[in-house]
Amino acid sequence: MQEAQDISSVRREIVRAENVRKTFTLSRKQRAIEKSKTGKKVALDGLSFTAYEGEIYGLLGPNGAGKTTMLRILATLIRPDEGDARIAGHSVLKEPDAVRSSIGFLTSELKLEDFFTPAYLFGFFGKLHGMSDEFLAKRKDELFTKFGIDRFAEVKVGDLSTGMKQKVSIAVSIIHDPAVIIFDEPTNGLDVLTAKVVTDFLAEMKEQGKSIIVSTHIFSLVEKLCDRVGVIIDGRMAAEGTLPEVAGDRSLEDAFFDIYKRTVTGV
């Protein structure tokens, strides 16, 4: 493990978030739920982290910690109030188009139109990514086989099962073979078999030299998959490093409770 750390220190930074702040203005309904007096919710409170090329980085945190918010900023869907993030050298604020070309982004809020078939959507998104017909055919072949989509290629997305929908979403999100893959809770709502297809796929992508960021609140997923992990609590980075650095010799779960207690009580 000492070795791995040495390598990581000379590795190139691929994703770097610096002091990212994001405050949401709450609607009246949300205000009642959040019991907020000010009508503002600080989702990210100066969050910084670094992920290196070729590793799987896990953003770990409880519900509402700000994981999805951070990833949406990386995907340029929303803009940070303060701070900036760079992906493969491109700033999400200044070069959002270049950032979008270099990432494959997946989150549950991104839906595919029920009306279309996976085959049609592949062609559509491939063209939006500026892919040649040849490259597109090759990717379609690869990904449809890998995820078992071939049999459903001509079935409307609306008629697919949750698992198959998720597989199509994953395939569409990485259709352009991006260098950086950003997945938000990729195994949420999936049965163990489908979840394994997804985690195996992420491991395979890492083998191919891709850089990967996943967010999750599932400890076992981090333990199995991630090279480094950042623990987010209340929009702040509570601990960051390789698994041994963060967990020591305890399980990640125990370590997390300690970190959580320390952060929340401020001791």
Partner: protein, 387 residues
């Protein structure tokens, strides 16, 4: 550019492969309008109907007015004797006869030599009819109108349009000015309702369902997405309007008489070109406006209800030509209104290039501004993610 085409192709695929949408937007409007107008037409206006009337002591003066020689008559008169009165009344009750007219004997002589008499004392023309029958009561109104004229003439203090005078318009102009009032209104209404059927679904619907976010994480520029949407929505709205227009075209003659076809035949190629350009700019403006409302709205439903006030404004502007027309150049700077006025000018054969150019140039500026605004909205997370 290729991204814009990709978006347009997808929007077309979404629309044309969906039978429900194609039928609801392209086929039903035209068919409904045709059926509705034809039904209305057969109730309110029937140029081919002839009324059947039985006449006792027929009057040649009356017949000359009601049944002029060389023209198609709307009456079929049958002469009967006084003994036929009761059976004729029975025929009216049963609906097989429209009218029974009983003239006094020597009615024609009375018309020329008659003296003034107090009401009730003068010779009386009896008209028997059935007010619950549409054809019988219209026959009654027609005959009473003729008799009113005859009664006025009998006193003959003065005539109106008897020895001279008349309508100086050519038939072409009359028809043209008639359609000049109606067509801009119909065109605007058809375009607006066509667009209302698809734009909220395509923009607010994609927001609601989360499919637009999937597009926004691809490298496509927001402006390309906006232009692709507006172009495809404009084409489909126009097709929908054309469908409604065909329905109108086919049913109008039955509803109002005349034919749009002969009215349309009187315009030159240049006027058609002008009309085409104005309509395109009208479509683009309307589609942009509804698209902006649709991206602001949180759901398809909200988009539809927010578009209603704008529809009312557009329709009011559409009927403005029936109230007044203008040639002040500044008026052609007002969007939508300028389209209506130029269309009215074209249809009434009083077309001016100056107003066309002002209209097209100012609309182009508005369209660019609206597209720019829509792009801004698509870039704003407050607009796109405001669920």
């Amino acid at each position: 550019m290729s991204n814009i085409l990709t978006i347009i192709r997808k929007e077309f695929a979404r629309f044309f492969k969906d039978k429900r949408l194609v039928i609801g937007t392209l086929i039903l409007p035209g068919v409904l309008i045709f059926v509705l107008y034809t039904l209305l037409g057969s109730v309110f206006y029937d140029s081919n109907e002839t009324y059947s009337a039985k006449v006792v002591h027929p009057s040649s003066v009356f017949a000359a007015v009601a049944d002029p020689e060389g023209e198609e008559s709307s009456f079929a008169f049958t002469e009967i004797g006084e003994d036929g009165i009761d059976s004729a009344k029975e025929e009216i009750r049963s609906g097989s006869l429209d009218l029974l007219i009983v003239f006094p004997e020597n009615f024609d002589a009375l018309l020329t030599e008659g003296e003034f008499s107090p009401v009730g004392g003068a010779p009386n023309v009896e008209i028997w009819y059935d007010s619950s029958s549409v054809s019988s009561s219209s026959a009654f109104s027609a005959v009473s109108a003729i008799l009113d004229v005859l009664e006025d003439q009998a006193s003959n203090r003065f005539d109106v349009n008897i020895s001279a005078g008349g309508d100086l318009t050519s038939a072409e102009q009359a028809e043209a000015s008639y359609y000049a009032m109606l067509l801009p209104f119909l065109i605007l209404t058809f375009l607006y309702s066509g667009c209302m059927g698809i734009a909220p679904e395509s923009i607010a619907g994609e927001k609601e369902r989360g499919t637009i976010a999937t597009l926004l994480v691809t490298p496509i520029k927001r402006s390309q997405l906006v232009i692709g949407k507006i172009v495809s929505l404009s084409v489909i709205s126009s097709l929908s309007a054309i469908s409604s227009f065909i329905g109108t075209f086919l049913s109008m003659p039955r509803l109002m008489g005349g034919s749009i076809g002969s009215a349309l035949g009187s315009y030159s190629v240049g006027q058609y070109f002008a009309l085409f350009a104005v309509m395109i700019s009208a479509v683009l403006i309307i589609v942009s406006l509804i698209s902006i409302i649709s991206s602001y709205a949180k759901s398809v439903k909200e988009a539809a209800s927010l578009s209603v006030p704008l529809m009312i404004v557009v329709m009011l502007v559409g009927i403005s030509t029936m109230l007044f027309t203008t040639s002040a150049p500044a008026a052609f700077l007002i969007p939508v209104y300028n389209c209506v006025q130029v269309m009215a000018q074209i249809f009434s054969l009083q077309f001016s290039w100056v107003s066309l150019v002002i209209t097209l140039v100012s609309n182009l500026v508005y369209i660019v501004l609206l597209v720019f605004l829509l792009t801004k909205m698509f870039k704003s997370e407050k607009v796109i993610f405001n669920q």
